[in-house]
Amino acid sequence: MRLRGLIHKEFYQILRDPSSIAIAFLLPVVLLLVFGYGVSLDAEHVPVALVVEQPDADTAGFTGGFEQSRYFQPVVMRDMHEAEQALMSRRVSAVVHLRADFARRLRQPGGAPVQVIVNGVDANTGRLILGYIQGVWQKWLARRALETGETLGAPVRLESRVWFNSELRSRNFLVPGLIAIIMTLIGALLTALVMAREWERGTMEALMVTPVTMREVLVGKLVPYFLLGMGGMALSVAMGVWLFGVPLRGSLWVLFGAAALFLLAALGMGLLISTVAKNQFVAGQVAIITTFLPAFILSGFIFDIGSMPPVVQWLTYLLAARYFVAMLQTIFLAGDVWSVIWPNALALAVMAAFFLGVSRRKLRKRLE
């Protein structure tokens, strides 16, 4: 009866507090839309300046490769000065320069040089663009060899295949990763805030002097926010699959099982934070710094953990989000790969048990 009363109360509060609803349902939608449509780590339709000093059949063959590629949006220019201006003002991301003697030197020993200038401010994108330009160049070489009957001096050929995310769409791994971020917000931030609110408004003191036990207080917070978190998760999965066309290759029950484990760990973190920080401002700050930001940066959601310095890699083992992101990306893109799921699930279970256990011990019926 006491537990039922607490859970009832919590649901009324959630329904009447627009900020809980916003964090649980509005925020996932906004984040998914931003990451699904706005943020893309792919380089597509890159504007590139093609400076052709003397157009003829040879240069047309070369530039034709750019026009057919979906990676590029070429702009033909006549002189280098104009192209440099365009690069400076960021109207183009790269310049490909074919000099006036291109056609003549092409037929001489030593060949014709092609100048390529890439905006390297964003190193990753710069490297991608350079790679794509080289691809265009190689394709052109191959086609020329076929046409003229020459042999290209390459005895080995590379045949590459991309697995799991064959289209290399960044959306396909961002959306599953985003689910971890959203659940961190609901589990840790929202729970820390509502618990701190009880201290701040003096209602915790009033609860404590009733016969209610602290375990009931904890469970009374866990159940409603667990359901809320799973609701937010279901919404995100539905949006990911139906709106963004992210493939879900694993089974739904494994996905929800993993989410449940992660949510328990996140709730445990949130409750633990609120036993230490007893006002909403501090609880919110601590929750963002210790759970949300690391989940964003260090979980492998955007940045690959494998390419981080070893110390930082070690640090990521302390993050529940790391295990969950790994599981999410596997379940969505690869399927139920048990060799990935079991160890990560175990790690989450240990963390959930640890945080909930410590919160239970810390939350005593004393005001000191």
Partner: protein
């Protein structure tokens, strides 16, 4: 002194009657580097079937004591027994039998009245079939029956307090602990709460322990425990305390004289323990039992009459505090007569005339009028009081007068300046002290003074001169290097007042300046206000204390954004004279006014 008062209590009351007993209880809190001794070897008993009042200013240890009694804190020393259980070891058993209402009532503001009740009924384990009857009874008793669907956050202060009480009473407890239930609640709601408390004791046989900082409420208790700075000064029935002052309390009237001058003269006399303005007269407490001689006390004044008056509990409390302070030396400064507190330059400047004029002022928030058409004037050198419950529109009026909030309609002139056009210029001529003492806790006394004076544009020689003045006049020299967070409440209050006066304002606004401070600090404070008024500084003050209202030259009583009465304390009281109340107190007058307003409103519908 302690044994002298508590001695007879122990003889007359057997130990088995005690529902709550504390023996040798001490409690310390360590916050950072500071250690606060909240309770110091406290012994006390709360007897079955009685209303016991735990009386003392802020910092006396009242809340700590209540929390210890319900097992929310563990004592450093000593033992606490509640209803036969050890409150520390068997706290679940105690919590199942005790009702405790914390200071902020413990309500969920986003839950409705009914939902709050349901929650506490669930938590207290009240069986569902017993609920309808109990709810009916509680709603009837608290008068909340019409509001069950309203959110708790939308209730008035008095209604919240009653709902908090109803939630605590959902399952009738054997012992009811109420922590400052009457703070910030208007006199009408206070009186209703007391009626409920007495009904509970009479009809349900409950034992009630209630803490309060209002000494007049102590008179309504069966037993009183007086506390100060973590120590019990004494316990016993209120009349026992009153009797200590019997034969030493008088009312002095000196027609034709300014009451402040008379009060200052009386307070300065050696044989006087306490002198307090009460309407037109001065309440006097003498040290000895020989009747005071007018010629000796007030030489040179004609027509002075000194009438014996019935003693009050406060008279004895003040006497006890003064006795404690004596060996400590300069712990508390005496109120000196005619001291230079305010800006001396003002006394000659400008003639008398209104310095504050407000006319038909309204303030709207959304579609809610917090202030609806208020008009009054305050003349130079006047002490003007603004009384009213929380939500009556006092603070809104105050903020408009300080130029912090623009009025929706009407005109406001302060120090001859129209606030609509010259708010900044007007602000330079007023001082403001808020009820929360907005000081920087991690700056020391000097740094606070320097900061606030520079905020008002004081620099160089003038700033140094004012700094010296503040340290001397407010006797802050000994604590000049103390971080203001570590100051006692009385010192904090003085520092806040000094900060508000650094720029020699013509008008001083005080927003509940004395809430929670002990009676001696309050007297000291009013001594300073009188000093300011004597130098033609205009003082405007809000308060919940009826006794402070008596010290004002004129008063405005507000309710629901309107002024119900305006005039001298004497006039306001006289207007509420009736056959039933030939000599109403300020509180009686206040209650009569508010109830009268409710009736006219009901009649209009």
């Amino acid at each position: 002194m302690k044994s002298e008062v508590s001695g007879p209590v122990e003889q007359t009351n057997r130990a088995e009657d005690a529902v709550l007993e504390l023996r040798g209880v001490s409690k310390r809190f360590v916050i950072g580097r500071r250690t606060i001794q909240a309770l110091r070897h406290v012994n006390l008993r709360v007897l079955r079937g009685q209303v016991t009042g735990l009386i003392g200013p802020d910092g006396a240890g009242k809340t700590t004591l209540m929390r210890l009694a319900v097992g929310l804190l563990a004592p450093d020393d000593g033992r606490i027994h509640a209803l036969g259980f050890d409150a520390t070891r068997d706290s679940p058993a105690v919590q199942a039998r005790v009702g405790y209402m914390p200071q902020r009532f413990g309500l969920y503001e986003d839950l409705s009245v009914q939902e709050n009740l349901d929650l506490y009924a669930d938590l207290q384990g009240l069986p569902p079939d017993a609920r309808p009857a109990r709810y009916h009874e509680l709603m009837h008793m608290t008068g909340l029956a019409r509001f069950t669907t309203r959110l708790a956050g939308r209730l008035s202060g008095g209604m919240k307090q009653k709902l908090g009480l109803a939630c605590t009473l959902v399952r009738a407890p054997e012992l009811l602990l109420l922590d400052e239930p009457t703070v910030g609640v208007d006199p009408v709601s206070r009186r209703e709460l007391w009626q409920i408390v007495y009904r509970l004791v009479r009809e349900e046989g409950m034992t009630v322990l209630l803490s309060t900082a209002y000494l007049d409420e102590a008179e309504r208790c069966h037993e009183v425990i007086l506390m100060h700075e973590g120590e019990v000064l004494g316990c016993g029935p209120p009349q026992q305390f009153r009797e200590q002052s019997r034969g030493r309390t008088y009312l002095v009237s000196a027609p034709g004289e300014r009451k402040r001058t008379v009060q200052e003269k009386l307070a300065g006399a050696a044989s006087v323990v306490d002198a307090l303005i009460q309407g037109e007269r001065i309440r006097l407490v003498t040290a000895g039992e020989t009747p005071p001689d007018p010629a000796e006390l007030l030489p040179g004044l004609a027509g002075v009459s000194i009438q014996p008056a019935p003693p009050r509990l406060e008279d004895s409390f003040v006497a006890m505090l003064k006795q404690r302070r004596k060996p400590g030396g300069d712990a508390l400064p005496r109120v000196q007569a005619g001291r230079q507190v305010g800006p001396a330059s003002l006394s000659s400047e400008n003639g008398p005339g209104p310095v504050i004029e407000i006319k038909d002022v309204k303030r709207r928030f959304g579609d809610f009028y917090a202030v609806k058409g208020v008009t009054f004037e305050v003349t130079r050198g006047e002490v003007f009081g603004l009384l009213g419950a929380n939500g009556a529109g006092k603070s809104t009026t105050f903020r408009m007068l300080c130029g912090l909030l623009p009025a929706s309609e009407g005109s406001l002139r302060v120090a001859g300046l129209d606030l609509r056009r010259a708010a900044a210029a007007a602000r330079a001529r007023i001082g403001y002290m808020s009820q929360k003492f907005s000081l920087y806790g991690n700056l020391n006394v000097c740094e606070n003074l320097r900061f606030f004076s520079s905020a008002y544009g004081l620099t160089g020689q003038r700033q140094r001169r004012r700094l010296d003045w503040a340290l001397e006049q407010f006797e802050l020299g000994t604590v000049a290097d103390t971080v203001s967070l570590d100051l006692s409440l009385g010192y904090k209050q003085r520092l806040a007042m000094a900060c508000a006066l650094m720029h020699e304002p013509e008008i001083l606004f005080l927003d509940e300046p004395t809430s929670g401070v002990d009676p001696l600090a309050r007297r000291d404070f009013w001594g300073r206000i009188n000093g300011l008024a004597a130098q033609h500084v205009t003082v405007m003050v809000t308060t919940h204390f009826m006794e402070e209202a008596e010290c004002c030259d004129r008063l405005a009583i507000m309710a629901d954004g309107e002024i119900l009465a305006l005039g001298t304390p004497q006039e306001i009281k006289r207007r509420q004279c009736s056959a039933g109340q030939p000599e109403p107190t300020m509180e009686d007058a206040f209650i009569a006014l508010i109830e009268g307003q409710g009736q006219t409103r009901g009649g209009a519908k």
